[in-house]
C-alpha cells in the first residue's frame, strides 16, 4: 500500500530525512518511535504534502501512485489522512461545514454525488459517537476553543468520517490524559480493517498499549535504524533511546 524508498527531505535547507525506507502493507499498523528531533513529524508532513518540506531524493508510492507528484488535497482524496499533532483553529468555519465540504470532495473523487443533508447528519452523529464527541462541537468553529483532548478526538472523528486507506497519527497521544487517550485509541481501533493501514507516530510507548502495532520502527537522524515487533516499544520504554543512539553513532564512526 505504501512504499517509501530512500526518502530525503529538507526544511530551510536543513536535511531532516536522510534516506528513509518503509514498507506498509494493507491492514498493518506501524508505529514510528524515536527521540525528539529525529524526523518523525517531518515524515508525517512530507507524506501529507506540506509544502515547506522539500523532498530532495527518493520516492513514495501509495496505491501504485507516485504520492510526491500529488498536491496535498489530492493525496487526501486518494486516501491519505494526517491526524495533526497541532490541529489548526479556524474561526468562522463551522466544523460541520468543513466536514461537509471535505466529505463532498471525497465523494466527488469517487464519482459520487454528495450525501443529502439528512444522510450526512446521520453519518456525523454515528462517527462522532465513535470518539464520544459532543454533538455540539460539530456546530462550533473548527477547533476553536476546543480542549486539547477535544481537538485530538475531532481529528479521529474526521478520519472516521473520511474513511482513508492510510491514517497517519502524528503524536496524537501527546498531552492527552488517560481517559482521552483511551477514547482516541478506541476510535482508531474501531477503524482498523484489513484494507486500512496506520502509521502511528509517537514519542511514548503508552499509546501502543491501546493501539497495538504490528511493527515498531525507531527513527533516528532521519532514518529508520531499528525495526521490530511490539516488544521493541516496551524495550524502548524501559531503556530509553540512548542505547539505540549509541549503536547508530558507533556504526557511523566505524
Amino acid at each position: 500500500m505504501l512504499s517509501i524508498k530512500n526518502l530525503h527531505a529538507n526544511i530551510d535547507d536543513k536535511e531532516i530525512l536522510r534516506g528513509l525506507n518503509l514498507e506498509v502493507k494493507a491492514g498493518e499498523v506501524h508505529a514510528i518511535m524515536g527521540p525528539n528531533g529525529s524526523g518523525k513529524s517531518t515524515l508525517a508532513s512530507v507524506l501529507a504534502g506540506r509544502e515547506e518540506f522539500v523532498v530532495t531524493n527518493g520516492e513514495v508510492v501509495f496505491d501504485e501512485k507516485n504520492l510526491l507528484d500529488l498536491p496535498a488535497e489530492e493525496r487526501a482524496r486518494e486516501g491519505v489522512f494526517l491526524a495533526f499533532q497541532y490541529p489548526v483553529e479556524i474561526p468562522g468555519v463551522s466544523n460541520m461545514n468543513f466536514m461537509k465540504a471535505a466529505h463532498g470532495e471525497m465523494r466527488k473523487h469517487k464519482g459520487l454525488d454528495p450525501l443529502s443533508a439528512k444522510d450526512f447528519l446521520r453519518l456525523v452523529k454515528e462517527k462522532s459517537a465513535l470518539v464520544e464527541l459532543d454533538g455540539q462541537l460539530a456546530n462550533r468553529a473548527v477547533n476553536e476553543g476546543f480542549s486539547g483532548g477535544e481537538k485530538k478526538r475531532n481529528e479521529i472523528f474526521q478520519m472516521a468520517l473520511l474513511e482513508p486507506k492510510l491514517g497517519i497519527l502524528d503524536e496524537t497521544d501527546s498531552g492527552l490524559d488517560i481517559d482521552a487517550l483511551r477514547i482516541v485509541a478506541n476510535g482508531v481501533n474501531a477503524l482498523r480493517s484489513p484494507d486500512r493501514s496506520f502509521l502511528v507516530i509517537t514519542h511514548y510507548q503508552r499509546l501502543l498499549d491501546y493501539i497495538v502495532p504490528d511493527f515498531v520502527h525507531v527513527l533516528y537522524k532521519g532514518r529508520i535504524v531499528k525495526s521490530g515487533g511490539k516488544e521493541l516499544a516496551l524495550e524502548l520504554e524501559k531503556r530509553g533511546y540512548d542505547w539505540v543512539k549509541e549503536e547508530v553513532d558507533a556504526l557511523e564512526k566505524a
Binding site: A48, G49, R50, E51, P71, A72, E73, R75, A76, R77, F81, L82, F84, P87, V88, E89, I90, P91, G92, V93, N97, F98, M99, A101, A102, E105, M106, H109, A141, V142, Q158, L162
Partner: protein
C-alpha cells in the same frame, strides 16, 4: 486684461447647463451660490489627505451627461427574494414613480421636497456640484411611533453611457418609529457611469433605523455616496455597507450622535479585485454622554484591487461615558493588491472606553494546509477561509432575506464558498 481661467469643476459641469437642480424650487439661492462656488473649485488630488489614496481624475476628466429620458427597465431581477419591500426606484438619478411601489405602508410619507430643510454640508467639490445640478430629491418620512412591517427598498439604476446621476435622499425617522431600509446600486450597462448619491438621515428620539447598503455595480462604474446621519437621544442606528462590486467606490459616512444613550453600529465589507478601488471614509462624532458606537469593516483585496479605510472617531469634551469601538481587518489575496488603512481617534473627554484596531495580512497558510489535507482544493480552501474571515460582518445583516441575497451574490461571483 486678465484672462479668465475656467475651473475644472465648471468644465466638468459644462454639459449639465440645460438641467435645473432639483433643489432649485426649494432653495434657489443655495443652488445659485453653489454654481458661483464652482467658479473657483477644483477636484481634490492625492495631495489632499482625504483623497490621498483615491484618485478622482478618472471621474473629473470624463465628459458626463445628465439624462432624463425615461427608459424601460426591468427591476424584477434586482429585487431581493422574500424581502417583501416597498420600492423607491431611481434611474440615472431620477425618481421613477412608474417603477416604484404605488403605495406605501401607513405612516410613510414620500415627497419630492426636503421635509426638514437641511441641506447637506458641502465638504467636497462633488457635493457642491451635486447641489448645483441635483437630479432628483426624494424625502421619506416615517411617522411617530410607526413600526413598519416591511422594509423600504431604494434601488438606483444606471442605463445611459456616461450618465451622471446625482439624487438626494432624505430620511426622517420620527420619534419612536422603527424602519429597515435596503439600498441597492445596480448598473445594467457596460459603459461608464457615475453616480453620486447623497443621503440625509435623521433618526429622532427613540427611533430605530437599520440601513443595508448593497453596492454591486461593475468595473466601469464610479459610485460616490455621501451620507450625513444625525441620531437623537435613545436612538438606535445601524448601517451595513456591502460593496460587492464596482470599479471605483467611495463612501463618506458621517454619523453625528446628537443626544444621549444612543447606539450606532457601522459595518462594512468590501472585495476590490481586478483594478477596482473601494474607499470607506467614516466619521463618528460623540457629542453627548452615554453613547455607544461599534464599527467593524473588513476587506478582501485580490488581483490589483485596492482598498482604503479611514475611520475617524471624535469624542467631544462633554461625551463622558462614551464607548467607541472600531476595528478594520483586511486580507490581501494577491501580491499586487493593496490596502491603505488609517484609524483616527480623537478623545477630548476623560471617562471613556475607546479602542481601535487594524490589521492587514494574508490567509493563514497553516489553516490552508489543514483544509487541503482534508481533500479541499486550493481554490475552495482559500474561499472557505475568506468566507470565515468576513462572516461576522455578514451576520450583522439581521434581515435573513437580505443576508441570503448578499450571500448568493458573493457565491455567484466566486468570492466566498459555503
Amino acid at each position: 486684461m486678465v484672462e479668465e481661467k475656467i475651473s475644472k469643476s465648471i468644465e466638468f459641469c459644462k454639459s449639465f447647463e440645460g438641467h435645473r437642480s432639483a433643489l432649485y424650487h426649494q432653495f434657489p439661492d443655495v443652488v445659485a451660490n453653489a454654481k458661483d462656488a464652482l467658479q473657483t473649485l477644483d477636484f481634490p488630488t492625492t495631495r489632499s489627505e482625504e483623497w490621498k489614496y483615491t484618485r478622482t481624475t478618472r471621474i473629473s476628466n470624463e465628459a458626463w451627461n445628465i439624462s432624463n429620458v425615461p427608459s424601460s427597465i426591468d427591476i424584477q431581477p434586482s429585487l431581493i427574494p422574500d424581502l417583501n419591500a416597498h420600492c423607491i426606484v431611481f434611474v440615472n438619478g431620477f425618481f421613477r414613480q412608474d417603477l416604484s411601489s404605488p403605495s406605501f405602508e401607513e405612516g410613510v410619507k414620500i415627497s419630492q421636497t426636503l421635509q426638514e430643510n437641511l441641506l447637506p454640508d458641502a465638504v467636497n467639490v462633488f457635493q457642491t456640484i451635486h447641489t448645483a445640478y441635483c437630479t432628483d430629491v426624494i424625502s421619506i418620512g416615517i411617522e411617530k411611533n410607526v413600526q413598519l412591517k416591511n422594509p423600504i427598498h431604494i434601488l438606483h439604476f444606471n442605463d445611459v453611457a456616461l450618465g451622471c446621476a446625482m439624487p438626494l435622499v432624505e430620511v426622517i425617522a420620527e420619534v419612536g418609529c422603527q424602519v429597515h431600509f435596503v439600498e441597492s446600486f445596480i448598473s445594467t450597462i457596460e459603459e461608464k457611469t457615475f453616480s453620486h448619491r447623497q443621503l440625509l438621515l435623521n433618526v429622532h428620539e427613540n427611533a430605530i433605523v437599520h440601513f443595508d447598503k448593497i453596492q454591486s455595480q461593475s468595473d466601469n462604474h464610479f459610485l460616490l455616496n455621501d451620507e450625513q446621519v444625525s441620531v437623537a437621544s435613545n436612538g438606535n442606528f445601524t448601517v451595513n455597507t456591502i460593496t460587492i462590486d464596482g470599479g471605483w467606490v467611495r463612501n463618506n459616512l458621517h454619523i453625528s450622535l446628537d443626544g444621549q444613550n444612543i447606539e450606532a453600529n457601522l459595518n462594512g465589507v468590501f472585495f476590490p479585485r481586478n483594478k477596482q478601488l473601494v474607499d470607506n471614509h467614516t466619521k463618528v462624532d460623540h457629542r453627548f454622554p452615554h453613547c455607544n458606537s461599534n464599527e467593524l469593516y473588513k476587506g478582501l483585496m485580490d488581483d490589483q484591487g485596492s482598498g482604503v479605510f479611514n475611520g475617524k472617531v471624535f469624542v467631544h469634551p462633554d461625551a463622558q461615558k462614551t464607548n467607541a469601538f472600531q476595528s478594520n481587518a483586511n486580507i490581501l489575496l494577491s501580491d499586487d493588491a493593496q490596502m491603505n488603512t488609517k484609524p483616527e481617534l480623537e478623545i477630548y473627554a476623560d471617562d471613556v472606553k475607546c479602542s481601535h484596531g487594524t490589521t492587514t495580512g494574508q490567509l493563514d497558510e497553516s489553516a490552508l494546509f489543514y483544509l487541503k489535507a482534508r481533500g479541499i482544493g486550493e481554490e475552495n480552501a482559500r474561499k472557505l477561509l475568506a468566507t470565515a474571515f468576513i462572516n461576522d460582518v455578514l451576520l450583522k445583516i439581521s434581515n435573513n432575506a437580505v443576508r441570503d441575497f448578499v450571500t448568493k451574490e458573493l457565491v455567484d461571483r466566486s468570492l466566498i464558498f459555503i
